[in-house]
């Protein structure tokens, strides 16, 4: 009996599940990371120095420790503490926080890009603080940073491949299993690479397009 069986159409469902899992965890991380990032970015734009130093240090740690180490650390930690989580949840938590760390900087610069004089104009119309945030600062600030936001989102999709190290069956881990069964690493990894390229490339082109349009 042959130990290795070549890739076949029967693997389509398996591969598709891997793709969907990659998309799923990426979307979850981008959504949660953006919402938290919006909140933290706003806090940073509004806070005094002390709060900013504390928040900034925490975010710096998240940004500078390699994601793969954070994933392993976190899943080991919760295991040792006796609260093991399914790989998806552990991965989504770490990836979301990691995303948040980058998104918060994006959004902070967005908030800071809204001129004080424009906020004063809004206040002079009788808007209260929260109304200026909701109707002026968020929409104007967010619009200006959309290309950077897209850039972060794009790298999160790529980084999600690392969640494979803690056992989440996303595309890369799916591919690894197929490789060990089929011994066709070159073709499979090329396919995986192509998939990431097909997602990333249009996003980055679109980001550039929007950026150029905003310059006009």
């Amino acid at each position: 009996m042959n130990l290795f069986t070549p890739l076949s159409w029967n693997d389509t469902g398996f591969i598709l599940t891997g793709i969907l899992n990659t998309v799923y965890i990426s979307v979850v991380a981008i959504v949660i990371g953006s919402l938290l990032g919006l909140l933290v970015g706003f806090l940073r734009a509004e806070s005094n120095k002390t709060v900013n130093v504390i928040l900034g240090t925490f975010l710096d740690v998240l940004r500078s420790v390699p994601l793969i180490i954070q994933l392993i650390l976190f899943s080991t930690f919760i295991g040792v503490m006796g609260f093991p989580l399914p790989p998806f949840f552990a991965g989504a938590i770490v990836l979301s926080l990691y995303t948040m760390a980058f998104m918060s900087e994006v959004f902070r610069s967005g908030f800071n890009s809204v001129p004080v004089s424009m906020i004063k104009a809004a206040r002079s119309l009788g808007m209260n603080y929260l109304q200026t945030v909701r109707y002026i600062r968020i929409p104007i600030g967010m619009r200006s940073v959309f290309p950077s936001w897209l850039g972060v989102a794009q790298s999160v999709i790529k980084d999600s491949a690392l969640v494979s190290v803690i056992g989440y069956m996303e595309l890369l881990r799916t591919a690894e299993q197929l490789i060990s069964r089929t011994q066709q690493p070159l073709m499979i990894l090329l396919g995986v690479g192509l998939f990431y390229f097909m997602i990333s490339y249009p996003l980055s082109r679109y980001g550039k397009y929007v950026e150029r349009k905003m310059e006009i």
């Binding site: 004089s117 004063k120 809004a122 206040r123 009788g126 808007m127």
Partner: protein, 240 residues
């Protein structure tokens, strides 16, 4: 009626307003002139409670602006303000720019807010730009939008802070025409301006600011044609 009584205002150690007294009656147009840094803008910000004051009182229709209990947002609904920089909201169309505050501040329905906004925009001559985005318009048009946006709150008072200073010379006229229109409507206005000829034409009262005090105040004929104080004479000889 706006009553300004003995108002003092400092930024740190710098005293910018050193006891300002000024009364503006309903229907009056008061112009404020004076050198750069004399505190003209600061006074407008204080009337509108964007800046706090360190002494004195500002009373608008019997309400003490700087009383802690005063609802500042409610108060600002009565005091439309237009700045040197027009600050159009770039993410909204012209109509949405003017309809936003009536909708969210006054709680009007979208239809009602837009109806008022449309009326004011037509009034300032922007009736054909309702669906345009402001960044595609000239400075003069954007400044007229800023005026209509303030008017859409239907305030009894309007405060103008050098609304033509940032405009190219050929666009000043259309904005001054809009102000004339408001004067003819009977709007009560305080105009900080460098346009002396315009101040002479539209004002009931002119106040000349010098280093945080009102050096001279009176009718345009008194202050602009026959200034009594030396500093007023010096200032006018420089700008005229």
């Amino acid at each position: 009626m706006i009553e300004i009584k003995g108002v003092h205002k400092s930024f740190g150690d710098l005293e910018v307003l050193k006891g300002i007294d000024l009364t503006v009656n309903r229907g009056e147009v008061v112009s404020i002139i004076g050198a750069s840094g004399s505190g003209k803008s600061t006074l407008l910000y204080c009337i509108n409670a964007i800046e706090k004051i360190n002494g004195g009182n500002i009373i608008v229709d019997g309400i003490d602006v700087h009383d802690k209990k005063t609802d500042k947002n409610k108060l600002r609904e009565n005091l439309g303000m237009v700045f040197q920089q027009w600050n159009s909201f770039p993410h909204l169309t012209v109509l949405e720019n003017a309809a936003l505050a009536p909708q969210i501040v006054k709680g009007f329905s979208k239809e009602k807010a837009e109806e008022i906004a449309r009326k004011e925009l037509i009034h300032v001559g922007l009736g054909d730009k309702l669906d345009e985005y402001p960044t595609r318009m000239s400075g003069g048009q954007q400044q007229r939008l800023a005026i209509a946006r303030a008017l859409a709150m239907e305030p009894p008072y309007m405060l103008f802070d050098e609304v033509t200073s940032a405009l190219d010379p050929e666009l000043v006229g259309e904005v001054l025409d809009t102000l004339r229109l408001l004067r003819d409507d009977g709007m009560t206005m305080i105009c900080v301006t460098h346009e002396i000829a315009f101040a002479k034409e539209v004002s009931d009262k002119v106040a000349f600011f010098h280093e945080g005090v009102i050096e001279e105040m009176g009718t345009p004929e008194e202050v602009l044609d026959n200034p009594q104080k030396e500093r007023t004479q010096q200032f006018l000889s420089k700008v005229l």
